[in-house]
Structures are given as C-alpha cells and as structure tokens.
C-alpha cells in the first residue's frame, strides 16, 4: 500500500510534467521531429507506468500464493503485509514471471491478502404438512421452521503445491466439520491427492453440499441406503488421476480410504475397520452444449450391526447436461439419475436393497428453474420395505448470491402411509465468490 501511495504521484508528476516540456519544445522551429520523439517518449513512459502498476497489483495479491520454487524459501517467513524491501528487486523478481494472482477474494486489499477466502452460506427451511413417518422409516419430516444449516467456508491456496478447504456447518444440533482437507495439486505423474475429512466420491449427490443441491432435501435412496444428509463423509485420504482414454473422453479414477465412521452406513469398531470408496468417472462432450457424464462407484466398510458385519455399496450414476453457450445464462437442462445397490450383513440374514432417483431440471430464464424428481428406495436394514416419492421444485434466484425455492413432495411409505409436504427454502451467501459446481 505504502509503495503504491508514494509511487503513483511520482509517476503522475512525470506524466503531467512532460507535456509541458513538449509544448515548449514545439515553439522552436523545425521541431516536429523532436515533438514526435517526445510523444513517443511519453507513450513509453505511460507503458512503463502501466507495467509498474500491474506489478504493484501482482505484489499486493501475491502475498498468499508464494512465488514458485526458487522464491519460495525467501518468502517463507510469514509477514502481515506484503514485504516492501528494495522495491526494485521485488519488482524485478515479479518481472521474471513469478507473479501470482489469488482467486476467490472479495476484498483484494493488502491487509486481507493473507487471510483465506471466507464465505458463509445460510440455509433456511420451512415446511407445512407431512405426516409423522412410520416407526421403521429412515426419512424424517422437516420441522415447521428451521435454520437448517449455516456453512462457513474457508479456502486458500497454501503454497504452489497445495490448497486448503474447510467447510464448517452449524446446524440445529451443533457444529460439524463437514469437510476440511488439503489438496496436493503438484504430485508426480498427474496424481491429485487429498488428506483430511471429506465428502466421499460415491456417486454425485454424496459429494454435493446442501446448498448446491437442485432440491431442498436429498433423494430417498441417499437417506435410506447411503447415510442420509451427511452421506459417506469421513476422515481419510483420497487419490485421483485422469486415465488415458480414447480422444475426447475424460476418464478419471478415484480411490479413497476412510476411518470407517459415516452416519449410519459405516461404523468402525476397531482400527482396521476402515472403509473404502472407489469411483470411476467417464465424461464426454457430445456437442459444445451437450455432455454426458457417467460414473461407477463402489464402497465397502464395517456397518453398525457389529464387528465384522460388512456393508457393500454399488452405485451407477448418469448425468446429461445441455447448455447452449450463446445463451448460457438463460437456459439449461440437467437430467440425472443414480442407482444404488446395498448389501448389508446383519442377523439373521443379509439385506440386499436397491434404490434410485431420476431427476430433471430446466432453466426457464435467467432467474427461474423448474425441476422434478422421482424416488424409490428400499431401506438398508429392511430391504423388503420400499419407500417411494416424487417432488416438484421451483427455484428463483434474485441474484447470484441468493435463492428462494419451493418444493412440493409426495412420499408413499412402504407401510402404506402417504405424506404430502410443502417445503420452502431460502439460501443466501456472503463473502468470497465461490466457484459454480459442475
């Protein structure tokens, strides 16, 4: 800051001073050449000022993302403000191309440069109707009014080799570290690694935070077979890599190892009751506006029936997206389906359940989305009991940072009980501009 303050007036003096000289020079006869030279000179100076301004901007924002390799050691010592030693040297090192730009900050001032990007997302839900569910049902109705979740996101680039992401959610029952992990972005052989607590890569919905779902609640199959709202969300390590594939096809494999404690899906009774998730994703652009995204998932872990009782989960997901590039902010369509097979070892007999959902969302205009979802799922503990349901969803976005959603939901419980529910949701986000999920 101080640099910029003292530096700009100096540049201004030069800029405004020179034209005066130029005019005086112009009174001398046959000074046209000189004039042209002077003009060129001014232009050169202007270019230099703009270049310096750019370097000052880069310096101000480079405090967090330390310059790469060779400069990393020098800047290792944390300091509260961008270092302002011999500016010439600093600028020179910037000029050699070790510049850095930090994404995600809403502020961009030097004082904030070392802080992570902070965002807060509020998720308020209101509900009317809905019968009390049968005793064995996993699906529970929403309370009348609820500050469902307040999620705080803290994200930053740690160094040129890694970034950190924290999502802490404050729900009605308390605080929960939804995710908190480091991503290693510079591993050899194009591997990307993560260590920490994270939503696992089992299917699509399991990876999504509540506020990016196209619905207010999660599909029945998630609730019944994949652990409900938090899903498979556990501490562990993850490694992924893009695999070689025929041209135009994106193929990616993910392998994850977790402690083995995830909601009501997995429970670790001893240290080696770890759980695993493997995911294979294939993606292809069909045209520039249409693409197909397919996934296979497998997960295995000890369940809460007791030690040595295993649950195996198999998943298939398919997503078809359409978004015309010239009108991308006005119209889009997403159809998605996930199928899950669950094998749960328990006494007296292993339970083999199956469930799926199929959904479609159409963007009517810049601010309006209309969607529907069909649900059907067995319950993991009572695989002969199948719940079914359907939802109609209308979403309005007043701006990119707020959304209002209404959802009518019909549920037919396996026991024969029907339930009609009307849900209302307001989501609002503060702070850093996050990336849009894909």
């Amino acid at each position: 800051m101080t640099m910029r303050n003292s530096f700009l007036p100096f540049c201004m003096t030069i800029l405004f001073g020179l034209p005066l000289c130029a005019q005086q020079a112009g009174t001398v006869p046959a000074a046209n050449d000189q004039n042209a030279a002077m003009e060129q000179h001014i232009r050169d100076l202007e270019d230099r000022i703009i270049a310096l301004e750019g370097q000052v901007r880069m310096l101000k924002s480079s405090a967090t993302a330390a310059p790469a390799a060779e400069a990393a050691a020098a800047s290792a010592a944390p300091s509260a403000a961008p270092p302002a030693p011999a500016p010439a040297e600093a600028l020179a090192s910037q000029a050699t191309g070790t510049q850095a730009q930090v994404y995600g900050g809403a502020g961009g001032s030097a004082a904030k440069a070392l802080n992570p990007d902070i965002s807060v997302i509020g998720d308020f839900i209101g509900a009317v109707g809905g019968n009390s569910p049968p005793p064995l049902a996993t699906l529970q109705p929403f309370p009348s009014l609820q500050m469902h979740e307040s999620e705080i996101g803290l994200q930053a680039i740690i160094d040129p080799y890694s970034r950190g992401d924290f999502f802490i959610s404050f729900g009605e029952e308390g605080v929960n570290l939804e995710e908190g992990y480091i991503t290693f972005t510079a591993l050899p052989a194009s591997f990307v690694g993560k260590v920490g607590k994270m939503r696992s890569a089992f299917g699509k919905v399991n990876m999504m935070h509540n506020h990016v779902l196209p619905w207010i609640d999660r599909p029945l199959v998630t609730t019944n077979l994949v652990g409900g709202e938090d899903g498979i969300d556990d501490a562990g390590v993850s490694i992924e890599r893009i695999l070689p594939a025929p041209k135009g096809i994106f193929l990616e494999a993910t392998g994850q190892l977790f402690r083995g404690d995830s909601g009501d899906v997995f429970k670790a009774f001893q240290k080696n009751d770890v759980s695993t998730v493997d995911h294979l994703r294939a993606y292809k652009d069909i045209t520039e506006s249409t693409n197909l995204d397919l996934g296979l998932s497998y997960s295995r872990g000890n369940n809460d029936f007791g030690p040595n009782f295993i649950t195996n989960l198999y998943g298939v997901d398919a997503t078809l997206r359409w978004k015309p590039l010239r009108r991308s902010i006005y119209h889009s369509f997403v159809a998605r389906s996930e199928f899950v097979w669950s094998q749960r070892q328990q006494l007296p007999v292993e339970q083999r359940g199956f469930g799926y959902y199929a959904s479609a969302d159409y963007q009517l205009g810049r601010r309006w989305f209309l969607g529907g979802r069909y649900d059907s799922s067995d319950r993991s503990r009572y695989a002969n009991l199948t719940d079914k349901g359907g939802s109609l969803v209308l979403t309005y976005w007043p701006s990119e940072f707020a959304q209002i959603r209404g959802q009518y939901e019909f549920t037919k419980y396996a026991e024969g009980l029907n339930s009609n529910q009307l849900l209302m949701q307001v989501i609002f986000s503060l702070g850093a501009h996050g990336a849009h999920p894909f």
Binding site: Q55, R57, T98, A100, E252, N272, R326, I329, S399, H433
Partner: protein
Amino acid sequence: MTSMRTNPGFVVALAITLALVGIFLPAPAQAKKLNIVTATTDMAALTQEVGGDKVSVESIAKGYQDPHFVEAKPSFLLKLRQADLLVVVGLQLEIGWLPPLITQSGNPRIQVGANGYLDASQFAEILDIPTGTVTRAMGDVHPLGNPHYWLDPDNGRRIAKGIAGKLGELDPEDAGYFQQRYQDFDKRLAAAEQKWDADMKPYRGRKVVTYHNSFPNFAKHYGLNVIGYVEPRPGIPPTPSHTIELIGLMKRENCKVILVEPYFDLKTPNSIARDTGGTVVQYLPSVGGQKDVTDYFKLFDYDIGLLMKALQ
C-alpha cells in the same frame, strides 16, 4: 497399514490405477511446441500472434460465450493437464469456474504461483478499480478492477509483449523468435491502429450505452462516452425501473446507440431502442464471437465497422 489387508477394494483399485498409468504413460517427446491453454479467445489470439508455430494454443471459453459463466467441464482438464502455460484474464473474471479446473488438472506447472501460470492483467491498463468499500449491493462487481481490458489496442500490445516475455522464459531457445514475432505484431498493430484511429476520430465524444460494463477500455481509447448500462448493477438483469431511468437518460443526453454483448438477451435492449429511436448494436467483446472474426485485428475491424455505421 496391516489394516489395508482386510480391505482389498482400495488396494485393488489403486493397483489397477497404477497399472493403467504404467501402461499408458505417454511418450511426450514430439516436435517441441509449447502447449498453451488460455481462459479466453482474446488471450489465445494474442498468444498465437507472438507464439507463431512454436506454440499450440487453445482457449477454454468460446468467443460468443459469457466469460463470467463458463462451465468447469472435465473435458477442459484434458487440455489443462498437458499445458505448459495457462494464460488467464485475471481480476476475478474467471473466479466462478477456473479455480476448480486448475486444482483438478493434476498439472503442477500451471498452479497459481507456478511458472506456467500467467495473469495477463498485470500487463494492461486497468480501469474501474474501486476506491472505497466494495459490497454486493453494487451487484457482482469486479472488486479488483474491470477485467474486460483487452478491447484497447494499446493493452493488446502490452499483453502481447508480456506473453512474448513469458514464452521466452519457458522456451529460452526460441526467445529471440518470440521477440521477433512481437516486434512484427507491434508494427502491424501500429499500422492498423492508424486506420482505426482515423475511422473513429469523427465520433470522439459520442455517447453510447452498453449492456454490461465490458467496454470501458475501448471507450477510453476511442474517446466514446459510456453514459449508462442496461444492467442496473453488474451481473443483475435489467429491471423495469432501471430501464425507464435509462430511457430517460438516453433521451436527455441524445444517446442513440446501445451496445450489447452477443450472449445477452435482446428483448430489453430492443425495447429501449424503440423508445429512444436508437439502434441496438451486437458488438463483439471477444475474438471468435463471429465465425470470421478469427484474430485480434479482425475483432477491431468488426467492432469499429459496426460502430461507424451506428454512429453515423
């Protein structure tokens, strides 16, 4: 570690992954060309100018696409993972889609702060840098300054120079070639600029309205006066009250030209044009916005041609 033995799934998956990696690990030594990915077509065009046949360049966003809202498609990862250099517009233009792509690319060369990451905004003259506090009440404002800076030929020259320097740094053997290409570009641009300056000279001081605030550098360079925007705030779609205000303003100021980026709906601009007796001009903010606008020169040829017609 013994725990893994009890759980074969992970081991199997890892083994398969590693095997595939081993089998298919590509042999990269083809003809030496720098592999460059840019966020937008304009950066691609400028990179191509100075890179010549020593580079292969591809842009993520298309020229007719809103650069604020590009989808982070995995297919882009296929390009990014091979890239030696990623050129971004910066100033948070790509904040909604590029960061996850960079993270997932598995490419250490192009990570933010690494040597193969180039933020082109550092070379350009940046306008609209907010002084004072920035809040979202101002809309989706760009808090670091206006990122639509490439529509000023002087900035184009500065960016090209910066890119040439970076290319030379990544490929020192061809540094001279890139400088030569830059000098050549500079000359051709200077010649083109003489014509553009002459074309636009009669219209200095003329008033225009744009849909989004993506025109300030062009306006400054050619002395046009942008008196308002169809958007009430950046990123906020038109509202009736703002539209009425804008129509009043245009009538008072005798402003007849509404410039609209190709990715915005024309309904509101058209109705403004009807009420003010003005014309809607679908100008191109980026190279590739139309099929025949294939480079940086044609972009200005196209836009200046449109403006001359509209401002006559």
